[in-house]
């Protein structure tokens, strides 16, 4: 893992669900130690981008490099936080158990987690202020606590790169702030954080860099060059009112109507 190679390098990634293209010829490079927001309209392929990199959805074409090596050789370097609503929280398990699942990747087949793994999980729970819930059922957690538990699970993976799929969906403002602070502290430790994000008004506060995407990459880079109203217009396919350039548009309406391709988020 050389210091100079990008955390993630995507070349010519194309993904299709059946015969409908979701991502088309995507080239993207993300540097190490960056907190990157992936932004675009519904159905733009934001989540699909993460899943295609991880091999969860099949790639039609494309090459993925993680820290300078082929993805298959370096897959353990990426920790993944799926959308909170993608699982059944009535599953019979405790919060501690859920977080311990983050250690499964390093354990390999058949081996069971032991005292060391439990300790790692407890530490992660503490960092996310969930210690008192360790032995509760996961079904008893609130939405924000579920999200924090998912983050704690990713934390014990102890990966240099993290992918988060809409971590702020359906959590309250306090939790959102707390999660952002934690992600930024991870970034400050040198980790690379890639977040699928929806709320245009918070982008300037949360991220160092941004990728605008709508099936293709519209722009990618530091906020002040990659996040202009012109590029936003291209991404969302319509003018976005009150949009100043270079982060001057915090009053921008988040609700966008009459846009093409508003299917469920793919």
């Amino acid at each position: 893992m050389s210091e100079t190679s990008p955390a993630l390098k995507i070349n010519g990634l194309t993904v299709a669900y059946d015969s409908i293209p979701v991502l088309w010829n995507v080239d993207l490079s993300i540097d190490q130690g960056v907190m990157m927001g992936i932004v675009g309209p519904n159905g733009a392929g934001k989540s699909t981008l993460l899943k295609a990199v991880l091999g969860v959805v099949p790639r039609l074409a494309g090459r993925i490099e993680v820290l300078g090596k082929r993805f298959t050789k370096n897959r353990q370097q990426i920790g993944y936080v799926p959308q909170r609503t993608s699982v059944d929280w009535d599953f019979p398990t405790t919060v501690l158990d859920l977080v311990t699942m983050g250690t499964y990747g390093s354990l390999g087949w058949v081996w069971r987690p032991g005292a060391k793994q439990k300790k790692q999980a407890m530490e992660a729970l503490e960092r996310f202020e969930l210690s008192e819930f360790a032995h509760r059922q996961i079904g008893e957690l609130s939405g924000g606590q579920q999200q924090r538990a998912f983050l704690a699970r990713a934390l014990v993976q102890n990966a240099p790169i993290y992918f988060l799929d809409e971590p702020f969906a359906g959590v309250d403002a306090t939790t959102e702030k707390a999660i952002v602070k934690l992600l930024q502290s991870l970034r400050d430790e040198g980790k690379t954080i890639v977040v699928v994000h929806h709320d245009l008004t918070t982008i300037c506060d949360y991220f160092d860099e941004i990728t605008l995407i709508n099936k293709k990459i519209i722009s990618s880079g530091p906020i002040d060059c990659a996040f202009t109203s012109n590029l936003l217009e291209q991404t969302y396919g319509g003018p976005i009112k009150n949009c100043g350039i270079d982060c001057g548009f915090r009053d921008a309406p988040v609700e966008l109507q009459g846009l093409p391709g508003n299917s469920d988020d793919a």
Binding site: L54, R75, G79, F91, P92, M101, Y104, G105, W109, G139
Partner: protein, 313 residues
């Protein structure tokens, strides 16, 4: 009743049905959590066709139809797996919804199975060994022989061993398949292993429980167990126990009333356990939840009254 326990034949059947119940109870937990009971039902119903076909093949080869599980379980495995593969194919290739695909496949396989069974029973000249083949519909535990018991023991034990060995992978894959895949676990492998486990859990039970009701022995103990515990390990253990009790009682009944099909009896016992769990389990049970709501309503009312009194002062 006591003399039954010393009876060799009865012991065979008792051990066999209890074992079947334990295995399908344990395996059923994963089917329950993965919402695959309908898939299990397709496997169970479809296996009838394989059973009758393999019976016929054994007749063509040896001149007498063989009803030993050694012959019929492979038949059930083949038909059950074929039904699953065909369902997967039809869903992928057409725009049929998964539940419709499963329903169609169940109808095709079970229908053909029944048809073939009828034909075997009425064929002239009569096929030797055909008597009792119809018991595979609703189960006849008393038909179990010692070699059947061995077959059940070997398949059941290897299934449970597999489950214990791959426990943590099964667990994370069942809870969060996408995360499991991001860990580098192969979803194709895990899905196949879990399905195989379920298919074996089903086919070893069809002699005692029958193809029609086998799915109940898979899912009912798991549903009961979920009521009592919040740990996957405890759930699997409890479901195995509930399943074993249901199977054991079923064999007792089968021996005392020889003409009674065992399947319905076993399933009824499992259902009684389930109803009890549904009503009386702590936390998730109806009684507990009703009492809790009542208590809360009372508390809220008291608080309201006291604040009203304060307001009046």
């Amino acid at each position: 009743m006591l003399e039954l326990l010393t009876d060799h034949t009865f012991r065979t059947v008792f051990l066999g049905t209890a074992g079947i119940g334990a295995v399908s109870g344990a395996v059923g937990c994963f089917a329950y959590l993965r919402r695959q009971s309908l898939i299990g039902d397709v496997v169970a119903h479809s296996s009838l066709l394989g059973i009758v076909m393999f019976f016929l093949i054994s007749y063509l080869i040896t001149g007498e139809g063989n009803k030993s599980l050694l012959v019929l379980i492979p038949g059930a495995l083949v038909a059950g797996t074929a039904a699953l593969l065909l369902t997967r194919w039809i869903i992928q290739e057409t725009r049929l919804k998964p539940d419709s695909g499963l329903g169609v496949m169940l109808a095709i396989f079970f229908g053909s199975g029944i048809l073939l069974l009828r034909w075997v029973q009425r064929a002239t000249p009569s096929i030797p060994g055909k008597r009792g083949l119809e018991n595979y519909l609703f189960g006849m535990a008393a038909a179990m022989t010692e070699s059947d018991l061995w077959m059940i023991a070997i398949l059941g034990t290897s299934t449970i061993l597999l489950m214990l060995l791959v426990w943590k992978e099964f667990k994370v894959f069942t809870f969060d398949p996408v995360f499991a895949q991001s860990l580098g676990l192969s979803p194709a492998w895990l899905d196949t292993l879990l399905l195989m486990m379920m298919v074996i859990g089903i086919v070893i039970g069809i002699q005692s429980v029958g193809v029609v009701l086998m799915i109940a022995l898979l899912v009912t103990p798991a549903s009961s167990a979920r009521q009592w515990t919040g740990s996957l390990g405890a759930m699997v253990g409890l479901a195995a126990m509930f399943g074993a009790v249901s199977g054991g009682v079923g064999s007792l009944v089968s021996f005392n009333w020889p003409n009674m099909p065992t399947g319905p009896v076993i399933v009824l016992v499992a259902t009684i356990v389930f109803l009890f769990s549904l009503v009386f389990a702590p936390q998730r049970g109806l009684v507990y939840r009703y009492a809790k709501r009542k208590r809360m309503a009372k508390e809220a009312q008291l608080e309201h009254q006291s604040s009203a009194v304060e307001g009046a002062n």
